[in-house]
C-alpha cells in the first residue's frame, strides 16, 4: 500500500501506527552479499573449503616441517594483499623471509612476538583491528602454560616485567574475536592446536623432494617438493579427498 505523503507530513506517527498494526512490514535489512572468501592459491583446496578461507573463522594448517604449511600461508597472504586488503603475520619464530614471493609487503604487518603467549595476544589485537587475514605462524613454537607459582609466596615486583599468561582457552577467545570482527585467522602449527574451535583443518603430508640433475653432479638443484593436502575437518563441508600438490622452489 502507499501512504499519502500529505498524511505523513501531518502525522509522523502514522507510520509507527501502521507498523504496530501489521499493515506495513519492515523490509529485511539490506544485506550486502557475503564477503568473498580469501583464496589459498590452490583451486582444489579452495573448492574443498567452500571457496577459500571464510572470513570470521579460524582455520588451522597442520603438518610437519617441509610439508608446505608456510607455502600455503604465504599464498593466502599473497592473494589477500594483492586484492588490496591489509593482513597481519604474527611470527614468534622470526622466520619470515621477505624475498619476493607475490605478497604485497606494503599491506603486510609483520609482528615478531617474543613468546607464544605474546603471539596469541598479538593475534587478538590484529583481529580487533579488522585485518582481513591474520596469519599466526606457530611452526617453530608450542603454546605451553606458564609454570605455576607456589602458593603463599609474596612476589615483590619493582620495575621488572611480569611473566605473561596464555589464559584459559586462547583458541575460543581467538575464534570469537575473528567472528566478531570479521577477519580470517589462519593458524599454522605442527600439531593440531585449536581443536573444535577451528572452522576447518587442513592437514599436510610430505611426499618427496624433487631434484633435478644426476646425483653428485655439479649442476644438481632442488626443484621443489611434492606434498599431499586434505581438508580433514570442516564445519559446513565434508572432508576432502587427498589433494596432491607440487610446490616448486624458486632459485635463491
Amino acid at each position: 500500500m502507499t501512504l499519502p505523503a500529505r498524511r505523513l507530513q501531518r502525522d509522523l506517527h502514522a507510520l509507527d501506527e501502521l507498523l504496530r498494526n501489521g499493515q506495513v512490514r519492515r523490509a529485511p535489512a539490506f544485506l550486502p552479499r557475503a564477503p568473498r572468501a580469501i583464496p589459498t592459491g590452490v583451486p582444489a583446496l579452495d573448492a574443498a573449503l567452500g571457496g577459500g578461507l571464510a572470513r570470521g573463522q579460524l582455520h588451522e594448517i597442520v603438518g610437519p616441517a617441509g610439508a608446505g604449511g608456510t607455502a600455503l600461508v604465504r599464498a593466502a597472504l599473497a592473494s589477500a594483499t594483492q586484492a588490496g586488503e591489509s593482513c597481519a603475520l604474527i611470527d614468534p619464530g622470526n622466520a619470515f623471509d621477505p624475498a619476493p614471493c607475490g605478497i604485497d609487503l606494503e599491506r603486510l604487518l609483520w609482528v615478531r612476538p617474543h613468546d607464544p603467549v605474546q603471539a596469541l595476544r598479538a593475534a587478538e589485537i590484529a583481529l580487533e583491528a579488522r585485518f582481513a587475514l591474520v596469519a599466526l605462524d606457530l611452526g617453530d613454537v608450542t603454546v605451553l602454560p606458564p609454570p605455576r607459582q607456589p602458593r603463599g609466596v609474596i612476589q615483590v615486583v619493582r620495575f621488572e616485567k611480569k611473566p605473561p599468561s596464555p589464559g584459559a582457552s586462547p583458541w575460543a577467545r581467538l575464534s570469537r574475536r575473528a567472528e566478531k570482527h570479521g577477519g580470517a585467522l589462519l593458524l599454522l602449527a605442527r600439531a593440531a592446536q585449536a581443536g573444535t574451535f577451528a572452522a576447518a583443518t587442513i592437514e599436510l603430508e610430505r611426499v618427496r623432494a624433487q631434484w633435478e640433475g644426476p646425483k653428485g653432479a655439479a649442476g644438481r638443484i632442488l626443484r621443489g617438493a611434492h606434498v599431499v593436502s586434505a581438508v580433514t575437518r570442516h564445519k559446513r563441508m565434508p572432508p576432502s579427498a587427498p589433494l596432491p600438490l607440487h610446490l616448486p622452489l624458486e632459485p635463491k
Binding site: 608446505g68 599464498a75 592473494s79 598479538a122 579488522r130 610446490l247
Partner: protein
Amino acid sequence: MKIACLHVPELSLVAALRAEPQLCAEPLAVVQAGRDLGGRAHVLGATPAAQGVEVGQMLAEARAICPRLLAREASPERERAVAQAAREAAAAVSPRVEEAGPGLVYLDASGLESLIGDDRAVARAVVAAAERVGVRAAVGLASSKSVARLAAQAASADLTLEATTSGVGGGAFRVVPPDEQREFLAGLPLFALELPDELQESLRRFGLHSLGEVASLPPGPLAARLGPEAALLSRLARGEDASALTARPEPDRFEEGEELEWDASSIEPLLFVWKALLDRLAQRLLARGLMARELLLGLRLADGSWDERALDLAAPTREVAALLQLLRLSVESRPPPAGVRAIRLSAVTTREVLEQMPLFGARGASPTQLAAAVARLSALVGPERVGRPVAPDRWAPFAAGSGKFAPPPPPGVPIPAPVEVSLAARALRPPRTADVRCDASGTPLLVIGEGALGGRVVASAGPWRTVAEWWTEAPVALDAYDLELAGGLLIRAACELGTGTWRIEAVYD
C-alpha cells in the same frame, strides 16, 4: 567586536579537584607546596564544604575551624595542565585565542553566531568546552577585553563545584551586551579591579567606591590630580578599551602533570598516575580532534633531576591502553635511577585521520584502527619488532628488516590475480650451528644439529659460493647447500669459508 574571557578562579583548587573529582563534596583545602611548612602553610583555596576556611589562613588555623578538613598541596604540574586545558577549551570554540596568564584566556567571539548561536549560546559553549576537559570556568562576553574580564569576574559569584567524569564542572557565564555595558560597569566596586594600593587609597579618600562614580567624573581633571593610571581607570570605567586581541598559534604539545606525595620506586603507583594523566590527555586530544604522534615522559627524581624520554609512536593514536603499555615498557626497560617525585606527560600532536567507510562489502581496517593496533602491538612486543617486512639491500642470505607500516588505500575494484604456491624458506635467525660430516669431495653426508635439524643426508645440491659484504664489518663468505635429510626435511646449510663452521640457515616448508 565581541570578546569572550575564560577565567579559571581558584586555579590551585580546580587543579586539585580535576585530579580527584570525588573530593568536590568534601571539606578540602589546597595549601602552599612545601613539605617543611606543615601547619604553617597558607590556604590557597577551599571547597564550599570546608565552612569557615578562607584563603590566606594558615593550615593549622583552618584545621581548628574545620576539624574534618582534608589538605592537598598545590601542584605546579597540575596547574600548568589546567591552564593549558583552559586554553584548548577556548581554542575549541574560536580560532583566535590569546592566553593572558595561567587560567585567563581571551577569545575572539565575533562571527560565531552563525556557527553556535547568540551571545549566550557562545558563552555557554565556552563553559561546556572547559568542562569537557575537566575545568570549571567563569566566562564573560562583552565588546572589549577589559569588560569581558570584569564580566567573567562577575560570573565567578555563580560558580558551583560539581564532579564530572573528566574533572570539575559547575561553570557560569555572564554576557554584557553593548547597550547594558555602562550600567554593568557602574555597579561594580573599585576593588573588582586590580588597582595599585596607592591609587585605591586615593580614590577612597575622594569618596569614590564604584566604577560608576569614577565614570561620572571628567577624565582630564582626574588624570591631573591622580596621574595617568587614573586616566586609564576613567576610560575603563566608561568601557573604552581599545586593546586588541593578540592571537597566538596553538602549541603542538599537550601536557599533563602530577606531583606525588611520596617517592614512587615501583611501577604500580606510576601506572596508576599515568592512567589518570593519559585519560585527561586523551580527553583533551579528543576535544580538539587530534592524536598523539609522539609521547614525551618526564620524571622528576628524588634528587631533583629530570629523567626525560621520548616514545616515538609507530602511528598516531590517543588510545590510553596502548600508550600506558608503551610507558610501562619504557620504564621497565630502563628504570629510573631514583624514586619518582613528579611526572610530566607531553603529547606531540597531529591531526586526526578521518576515514571513509565503504558503502558495500565488508568493512576493513580503517587507518585509525590500524594505527591504534600498531601502537598496541608495539607496546606488547616492542616497536622494533612490529612493522612492514623489508628485504634489505644486502647480500646476506635471508636478511630481513622492518619499516613503518603505512598501507596504501585499497583499490576501488580489486582484481583477483592468480597466486602461485611455491616452497617457502623459513629463516632461522640466528642461524643454528651444526656439525656436518662430509665425504672426500666435500659433499655433506651427515648433519648433527639441535633437535630435528639433523640426520643422514639423502640428497644434496651445491655448493653455491657467496663472497660479499667484504667492505663491511660483517663480510659474507660461504658455500651454501640444499640438503634433504633422512626424515624428509629440506634445509639450506652453509659452510663459512674462513672458519669452516657449518650453520643451518633455513628450513624449506
